[in-house]
């Protein structure tokens, strides 16, 4: 090991959390898988041999459409490339999931911080609101609202999903705030008459960043699930392809009964891999942030 590498290693080792992150097998596995799926969404489209709307060739019976070198994920019943649809669709779905979960986390963090810190009536009202939104079956509200929107772009979708999914963050952040708000440094900050804004964000939120990060991952999981579901119901973005839509088309055209399984099953596999990797990252992080669970 060169001196420089040694120094870097020492530095990492001195930062305990980072050290555990890079030595935790679950996290490493999760991060690699997650990056691979994201990479597929980002650069996958450049490796597509055909465009989304490009007719490839005869695709019936199913044996002619099976996955091949030219079309790694096979063809649809009407002769389109499933690979192209999957990679473009994944891109759209991840975009919605990402923007939606940022929005949801922002709303959730603000509401959770205020409810936890202020307490009393403010807390009752905000938590009442949170519980109301939480009780609703999310997809049902999304159907009602999305069904009435004549045009749905990626940003519309993200806002829609984000607006129903924030309560999870709000509850989690509130309970953390409750346990942090009576700490010495917060009291000190209060005595020095710092603004409530600076108390909330610099003294409280800054001390639960790791926690917020984990909640963000969960929020992302939830957003992706909701997004894909909406897309599958035909209420996804009105233009372009999305993963849910690809599978919807497959099912509607009877792909399962004519044995075009690749068309209906491969696109969903990427959602599975994406969410699976995130669960692994989260359980790994859980061990790091809650030292009690660490195996020494």
């Amino acid at each position: 090991m060169t001196a420089k590498a040694k120094r870097i290693f020492q530095k990492i080792k001195s930062n305990e959390n980072l050290y555990f992150v890079i030595t935790n097998k679950k996290i490493l596995f999760g991060i690699s898988l997650f990056s691979a799926v994201c990479l597929f969404a980002i650069i996958g489209p450049y490796f597509a041999n055909y465009g989304i709307g490009e007719y490839v060739g005869i695709s019936a019976p199913a044996s002619l459409a099976a996955p091949s070198v030219d079309n790694p994920f096979g063809l649809t019943m009407n002769g389109y490339d499933v690979y192209a649809r999957t990679t473009y669709g994944l891109r759209s779905t991840i975009q919605v999931g990402f923007i939606g979960s940022i929005l949801a986390s922002t709303i959730g963090i603000i509401i959770g911080l205020i409810a936890g810190y202020k307490g009393g009536m403010v807390d009752e009202i905000l938590m009442g609101l949170t519980n109301v939104v939480l009780t609703f079956p999310q997809l049902a509200i999304l159907i009602v609202i999305a069904g009435f929107l004549p045009y749905r772009g990626i940003s519309h979708m993200a806002v829609l999903v984000g607006l129903v999914i924030w309560p999870w963050t709000a509850r989690a952040v509130r309970s953390q705030t409750l346990s942090l708000k009576n700490e010495e440094h917060v009291n000190l900050s209060k005595i020095t008459s710092n603004s409530i804004f600076s108390i909330l964000f610099e003294d409280i939120a800054a001390n639960m960043l790791s926690y917020i990060f984990m909640v963000f991952i969960q929020q992302f999981l939830g957003t992706i699930m909701a997004t894909v579901g909406l897309e599958f119901l035909g209420l996804g973005p009105t233009r372009g392809v999305s993963l849910g839509m690809v599978m919807r088309n497959a099912l509607q055209e009877g792909a399962l009964y004519l044995d075009y399984w690749w068309w209906a099953i491969i696109p969903g596999l990427f959602i599975l891999l994406l969410l699976f990797s995130l669960y692994f990252i989260n359980t790994g992080l859980d061990k790091i942030f809650n030292p009690e669970l660490r195996e020494m």
């Binding site: 009442g128 519980n131 109301v132 939480l134 009780t135 609703f136 079956p137 999310q138 997809l139 049902a140 509200i141 159907i143 009602v144 609202i145 069904g147 009435f148 929107l149 004549p150 699930m225 909701a226 894909v228 579901g229 599958f232 119901l233 035909g234 209420l235 849910g244 599978m247 099912l251 399962l256 009964y257 044995d259 399984w261 209906a264 099953i265 969903g268 959602i271 599975l272 891999l273 994406l274 969410l275 699976f276 669960y279 692994f280 009690e292 669970l293």
Partner: protein
Amino acid sequence: MKKYFTKKLIIYFLTFFVAVTLNWIAPRLIPGNPVDTMLATYTGPAEGRAILERQLMVTFGLEGNLFEQYITFWRQILQGDLGQSITMYPRQVINIVRNNIIYDIVVLFPAIILSWIVGNKIGAKAGDDKKTDKFIMPVIYALISSPYFWFAIIVVYIFSFRLGLFPSAQAYSGGVRPALTLDFILVFLRHWFLPFFTMFLITLGQWAIGMRNMVIYEVKANYANYLKVSGARDKLIRRYAFRNGVLPQVTGFAIQLGQVVSGAILVQEVFNYPGLGRLMLEAVQRQDFFLLQGAFLALILMVLFANFVVDIIYMFIDPRIRVSYSEEGK
């Protein structure tokens, strides 16, 4: 106890209020006015159009200013009047909803109960036993990572297409008439099995993970250590850990329920199985506002009712609340 209950009731009431309000706002979100959209395809004489328009304005509750419309809407709902379906005219929405909600209940009720029991057992085992944990947790994570509809698609592909064991669509075959005969019940059960099975398997994972985390935490608690040093058998400790873990799982029930019902909508879509979710989707596609509103409201009421039942069960099984209840009764 009383406070806990009042608080819950307020939440339920608020949820219902928000649901009704949302129901009222949604059709008004479309640019223009639903009546114009519906009349766009009208090709009769002009006087006819005027009469029709007037009639539709009344049925839609679009007369008067917004506040008056809102009040009318509430009055109708409280009278149990959900209006008439536009596409299945003149059937009452409430009857259509009643015919469909049965299917939600027969699939969801057994699936949720069974998955809760089995999921908790698996979770407790995984939390307690490292070997099982290593083997079963990745499977559980894969389960909860799969989108409901995708999982349903795979179930259809394997059990219906490949193995040909079960039919894959509808609640019963077209040739059979619903009746209380053995034949019909068998046909019904064969159609019912796959949606039920899918819902059961996919909701199982969430319970298993929750229970696993609870048990891991509980077996490290002081009382467990105390039991261990006093020579109690592992089985006993495990039982205590499980019982302590069950309570949060019951509370979690209420939170998960919304998710499960959302998932059921997707599963119904894959299996082409009737239910409120499918009804909502059909209503959206055909722009049948009353039907959409009615189905949505019924779905919310179903969830609220289930929450209410869970709350009552919780009160009975939580010794702390039970004790305070009996003391209050003195």
